[in-house]
Structures are given as C-alpha cells and as structure tokens.
Amino acid sequence: MSKEKSDLQIDSEIIDGIREGDNLAIQQLYQIHFPPIANMVINNRGSREEAQDIFQETVMVLYNKISDGDFVLSSKLQTFLYAISKRLWLKHLTRGEAKYRKDSIDDYGESLAAEEVIEDHEMKEANLVQMEDALNGLGEPCRTILYDFYIQGESMAAICEKFGYTNADNAKTQKYKCLQRLKKIFFKK
C-alpha cells in the first residue's frame, strides 16, 4: 500500500517538474522509465539508438499533453509512457522498409487510446514546429524584439533602449512590422 502511494507521488512529482521545466524531474523520468521502454524496443528488433529516439518522442508527447493544461493521469505514468512508446515503435516498424508483423507486439484495447493521443500530439506538434521554423526564419532584430516583448514580457521602453531606437513610436512600428512578418511566414507554410 505504502509503496504504491509513493509511486503515485513520484509520478505526480515528475509531472509537476516537467510542467515547471525542472531538469531534475526529466533526469528522474529517464532513470525510472527509460530502461523498460528501451527493453521493449530492443526486444522487438530495435537498436539502442532507436530506443532513445522513441523515448524522446514519448517524452515530447507527455510534455505536450502536460502543456495543454488538462492532463490527468488515469493510470500509472509507466503505463501511459509504455503504451505511447509501444505505439510509436509499431508505427516506426510498419513504416517504410521495416518489415514486422504489426500484431506481434500489439494488443488491442489500450493501443486505440494511445493512437488517439499520438494523433492529437502529431497535429499540435506540426503546428508548433511550424511556428518554430517561422521564428527561426524571421531574422534579427525582429526575432529578439518579439521574443523580448511577447515571451519575456519586457516593456517597450526597455526594448527601445536596447535597440537604440530614437523614439518609442519607431520601436512600436518596428515591432508591429516584425509581428506581421512572422504571421505571414507562419500562415504561408
């Protein structure tokens, strides 16, 4: 009883840690959850490198679910991660040249839920990657101006000084142009 409780506690500590960007939580996640998933991949014709990729993608699924803000763990974290990894690995195996019978490590039931989570993840992930590309394609000083203002929440006055604009209106116009350019790149893709 007491052991299960502490497992649950560890699970929720990891989830809170990921939400807050705590590196210790990510380390703990690796320590506890990577080995069984690596075994699953390696025992099903995967290499250790492939296991690492699958696990990283699984963690990204978890991260995106947590960032969505409505993540409630309905099972143990291990169960969730394992189901997702298994599904991702199966997808990998059935994609392209890897020949492997799908049902051999597949059992129905849980795989459907995992499939839904992954589809949702891939959709959102594509959107975020597109934004990341747009930001990277924006160039300076636009990227930093937008970053400072929208992400860091810095004041227009501070930005004005940092970039040496002679008056606040110029800075504001520049910022607006940058935002419009970003939107253009983002929506064009």
Partner: protein, 372 residues
C-alpha cells in the same frame, strides 16, 4: 482600418496592453466593449491571442526539447553499454572457423574418452543432484556404535543387534496447503516410510497419512490424521500459479535442524536441474532437511517447494514450481481424498507485512516431517 479611426496596428497595440494587464480596470472594460461592438476586431483579437499562445508554446517547447536532449545525452553517456570493440568484430568474422575447430575438438575428445573406456567407469558414478532429506540417525548411530564398542570392552555380550534392528529415520520439511490438514512435502522424503509424523515449531506432533505421491514430480501429499489436530481458520499465504521472474527476491523456512531456519536469496534461473521446466534454480543456502520447505516471494506467495541442490556448485538449489503442485493436486483420484476436498486459500494475509511479520505468521504452518 477598424471603426472609430483605429487601424490594425493601433488595435494590436491596444490588445497587447490588454493581454499584458497594463490597462486600468476602466480601460479593460472599454476594450471589451469595443470588441463586443466590433465583431471584426473581436475576431482579430481572438486570432492574435491564439497566435501569441502558439508562439509561447513553441518557444517553451523548443527550450524543453533542448533540455531533454542534454539530459538524454548525459544519461546515455553514463548508461550506454560499451560499444563492441575490434576484438569482438574480429570474433564475429572468425566465428565460423572457431566453430569448426571446436566441433573437431569435441569429436576427438569424446571419441578418445570412449576409446579409453571412460564411460564404462562413469556409469558407476552417481548423479550430482542431491535431495535434501536429513538422516537423523547418523549422529545417534555413531554414538551408539561407540557405546557398543566401549561396552564390548567391558562385556563380551553382543548388543549390536539393537542397532541393526533400528529403522532408518529421516527428517525434512513440509507445509500446509489447505486449512483442513493437507500438507505437501517431497516424494523422496517419505519414500519407503512406515509412518510419517509432522511436528510444528511449538513442538506439537501429529500423525499424517500419505494421501498421494507423484515420484516423477517428486511431490507427496500428506493429510494430518490425528485427533489432537484442529482444523485451522485460514492459511496466510496463497499459491502463485504463474512462473515467477528471474532475479525475484525469494525466501524459505525449513528444518535442516530441529529449529526452523530462515534462508533468503533470489530466483537465479527459470529452469531447474538439467533444464527441468517444472522447477526453478534458486540461490539460497539450503541443507539436508530443507527439502519440502515452501519457497515464497516477497509478497508472501508460495512459488515453489525446495527439493534439492547440485553437488559441487555453490548456490545452485532447486525448487519445484507451484505449477507442478497444482498438476499433482488435480491428478489425485477423488476416492483418495475421503471426501475432504483440497481447497486452496486465495486470500494472501502476508502481502503488506514486513519479512519478520510474514515469518511469524507462516511458521505455524511449516512442519518438520519425521519419517520412520
């Protein structure tokens, strides 16, 4: 572009101020009113807000991913098994040659052994498996023999006859499997028995009948047949029918001497002596007298029955799997049971107890099996 002379840039700046919480309460309301009155701007605001959210999410995502990659790198640096070295790849290439050479070597070794008559001698040697019943008379008989020798000095009358008449006397362990008095031990313990007595750690002794034996699986089912034995309420442990995993923490209680002795170890292989799939190899120090003792996992499930060990190999003991016990129980003919059915306990009372408390609870159900 919007109404009331507000262009898109001005509106966006206003919206930003609103989102950043820079407006007074009054101005906030004004902004909300303006959006309510201008659906086009409300739409623009919703889009702008969603866009900024995506931007923030993308930014934290790429931060997280960068962190994750660093941590993953550090983790794998520490935990990755060393890559195959050149020696190994050389081995890969020469494997076939080595295999052929080995095959020739093996053939020549065995043909030499055969030619020199080694196998004829070998047949006489006994197996290296040793069952773990205890010969309780050894010490006594030695003492008796000494006494006899001493007496012979004083008295020429031959009294060694008594010693010859004395029957063999073995001891081992057994444990209860049902609350109505069925007990399991090894077949090799009770083979050739005239009578079997079970003694618990409190010193109470009960007479038992041999109900069924299965020499092949080395199991014997006994039933306590003694007026002083009262049916007990329940047995604290359950029987785990599935195979347990290698590396599992296991323990046993047995009677290698007249007091109960605890032994602890791990499950070292999922097959027993000579690849027997109905047994486990375990690493627990066991001695003659441990035969028939229960093998339990950390939750207090019985997973096997201690049966023997391999001579000359340290820490290689064997236990018959619970599966074999189940098969044996199922094969008992109904008329051997005299209407007393074998109903196994399915409620584990040991599960969340500490090891010492588990032992306290279960030792009432482990017996010395005394065979005359």
């Amino acid at each position: 572009m919007g109404m009331k002379g507000l262009n898109q840039q001005e509106f966006t700046a206003w919206a930003d101020a609103y989102l950043r919480g820079e407006l007074s309460h009054e101005d906030q309301l004004k902004f909300e009113m303006y959006c309510a009155e201008n659906p086009a701007n409300a739409e623009l605001f919703a889009q702008h807000k969603a866009f900024l959210t995506t931007m923030k999410r993308a930014e934290s995502r790429s931060n997280f991913k960068r962190n994750l990659e660093h941590i993953a790198q550090d983790y794998h640096k520490v935990h990755t098994p060393k890559p195959a070295t050149k020696v190994i790849s050389l081995w890969d290439r020469l494997k076939l040659n080595a295999a052929v050479a080995a095959a020739i070597a093996i053939v020549s070794v065995f043909s030499t052994l055969w030619l020199t008559g080694y196998y004829k001698n070998l047949r006489k040697a006994t197996s290296d498996y040793s069952a773990l019943r205890r010969d309780m008379n050894t010490v006594k008989r030695n003492v008796n023999a000494q006494n006899a020798a001493i007496q012979n000095i004083n008295n020429t009358k031959d009294n060694t006859k008594d010693n010859v008449k004395e029957t063999m006397h073995y001891g081992a362990t057994g444990f209860m499997i049902t609350k109505n008095g069925y007990v399991v031990t090894n077949y090799h313990v009770i083979t050739g028995a005239d009578s079997v007595h079970l003694q618990n750690h409190k010193g109470e002794s009960f007479k038992a009948d041999i109900v069924f034996t299965n020499p092949e699986k080395d199991l014997a089912i006994l039933h306590i047949n003694d007026s002083t034995f009262k049916s007990i309420k329940s047995i604290p442990y359950t029987f785990k029918r599935q195979d347990s995993d290698m590396g599992e923490d296991v323990y046993t209680i047995g009677f290698p001497r007249d007091e109960a002795v605890y032994g602890q170890g791990y499950l070292s292989s999922s097959t027993g002596y000579a690849g027997d799939t109905l047994a486990y190899q375990i690493s627990i120090p066991v001695n003659p007298g441990n035969s028939g003792g229960p093998l339990l996992d950390k939750e207090g499930n019985v997973i096997g029955i201690i049966s023997g060990k391999q001579k000359g190999i340290d820490g290689a003991a064997f236990a018959i799997k619970t599966k074999a016990l189940m098969e044996t129980l199922n094969s008992i003919p109904a008329d051997s049971l005299n209407g007393k059915n074998v109903v196994l306990n399915n409620k584990n009372l040991l599960q969340n107890l500490s090891r010492t408390d588990q032992i306290k609870k279960l030792q009432d159900y482990v017996y010395i099996v005394k065979v005359y």
